[in-house]
């Protein structure tokens, strides 16, 4: 396996793992508060729709669109996504943006779902939690929340798989890496349920942001026929370049933040809070 294939697999795995953690948090909250049967059905339905999208869009994309056009468009999308991830990761690492706390999101989602009308046939169950089995009653709220969580986060995984896989003609490898990440996160998530905040999400986001940005710049250049010294190996140089920039920005921003905080004691660091609005989850 070439070095660019390994980097590609790592990038897809990392990006998919971050999104899978976010989706799993929502599914755990839905399953715990509304019953596991509907949450599981919501997950399966969302995965089925995502598979249809990959098959319906991904395969024709590779065969019908000229590869150079595909690389410029996809490189641009990767670059936007990578730069957004890097920006958020640097701001969060330096205390300029609230951390994405999965425990807070879990607690908030459970509280919201518990306030909604409880499924009628569940009313006799005093403590929902893990005791509700997969053979329990159906619940539309649990289904919808699990479906939306998996579908929206999964859409981003699909986007990463399609963009990285299609531009390098390695759709199978990208899909495999994403599937592996989802399996690993799901397995680990159910073992350490309710402790998803232990996952170093911001560090992962920083690393994946560096890789997505590097791939984005590389594919935009490739699409236009830009000369990259060392061909595919240039990706490694780009990763080193953007890692150096990110590191410098983290150190510089940290220093700036400390200086301004010292000048104004009342302006403390942004506290950890729920931050899962649509733009924030990207």
């Amino acid at each position: 396996m070439s070095s660019s294939a390994i980097v590609l697999a790592l990038a897809v795995f990392g990006a998919s793992a971050v999104e899978a953690v976010e989706a799993l948090t929502i599914v755990l909250a839905a399953g715990t508060s509304r019953g596991w049967r509907s949450a599981a059905e919501g997950v399966v339905a969302a995965l089925a729709v995502l598979v249809v999208i990959v098959a319906g869009v991904g395969v024709p994309l590779i065969h019908l669109v000229p590869i150079d056009v595909l690389r410029v468009v996809i490189g641009g999308l990767l670059l936007v996504l990578g730069l957004q991830w890097l920006r958020k990761a640097v701001l969060r690492a330096t205390g300029n943006k609230a951390l994405h706390d999965e425990d807070a999101i879990y607690a908030s989602t459970v509280a919201q779902l518990s306030q909604a009308d409880a499924p009628s046939s569940n009313s006799e169950v005093p403590d929902g939690g893990w005791r509700r089995s997969l053979s329990g009653p159906r619940d539309a709220v649990g289904f919808t929340v699990a479906f939306k969580g998996v579908f929206l986060e999964g859409l981003e995984v699909v986007l990463v798989v399609l963009t990285l896989g299609a531009s390098s003609n390695r759709l199978g490898l990208a899909a495999g890496a994403a599937a592996a990440a989802i399996v690993v996160v799901t397995a680990v998530g159910f073992v350490v349920a309710r402790q998803l905040s232990a996952v170093p999400e911001n560090t992962m986001k920083l690393a994946v942001g560096i890789m997505l940005t590097s791939f984005g710049v590389f594919w935009v250049g490739e699409g236009f026929g830009l000369h990259w010294p060392g061909n595919d190996l240039a990706i490694l140089v780009l990763i080193a370049w953007f890692a150096a920039i990110a590191g410098t920005l983290v150190l510089g921003m940290d220093r700036l933040t400390r200086r301004s905080s010292a000048g104004d004691r009342s302006t403390s660091r942004v506290p950890v809070q729920r931050g899962d609005e649509v733009g924030d989850s990207i």
């Binding site: 410029v72 490189g75 641009g76 670059l79 936007v80 996504l81 730069l83 957004q84 890097l86 920006r87 640097v90 701001l91 330096t94 300029n96 943006k97 859409l155 986007l159 940005t213 984005g216 710049v217 935009v220 250049g221 699409g223 236009f224 026929g225 830009l226 000369h227 990259w228 010294p229 240039a234 780009l238 370049w241 953007f242 920039i245 990110a246 920005l249 921003m253 700036l256 933040t257 302006t267 942004v270 649509v278 733009g279 990207i282």
Partner: protein, 72 residues
Amino acid sequence: MTATKRAIAAFGKFWWEFLVGDTPGLLVGTIVVIVAALALRHHRTAGFIVVPLIAGVALALSIFRGRKTDRS
């Protein structure tokens, strides 16, 4: 609103949030990167130096602006 219109609106909203969201500067930076790559495609050395440099500058500017806006 019909189901089709709702689906189109949701599709448009997803792409708007994805591409622009609260960081329109990064989209502008990406467009500048693409234009620079197009303009420098025949230069053997300038292209691979300038294009990543522009991406880095766009990121730095956006983060510096974010420092002021995201804290408030």
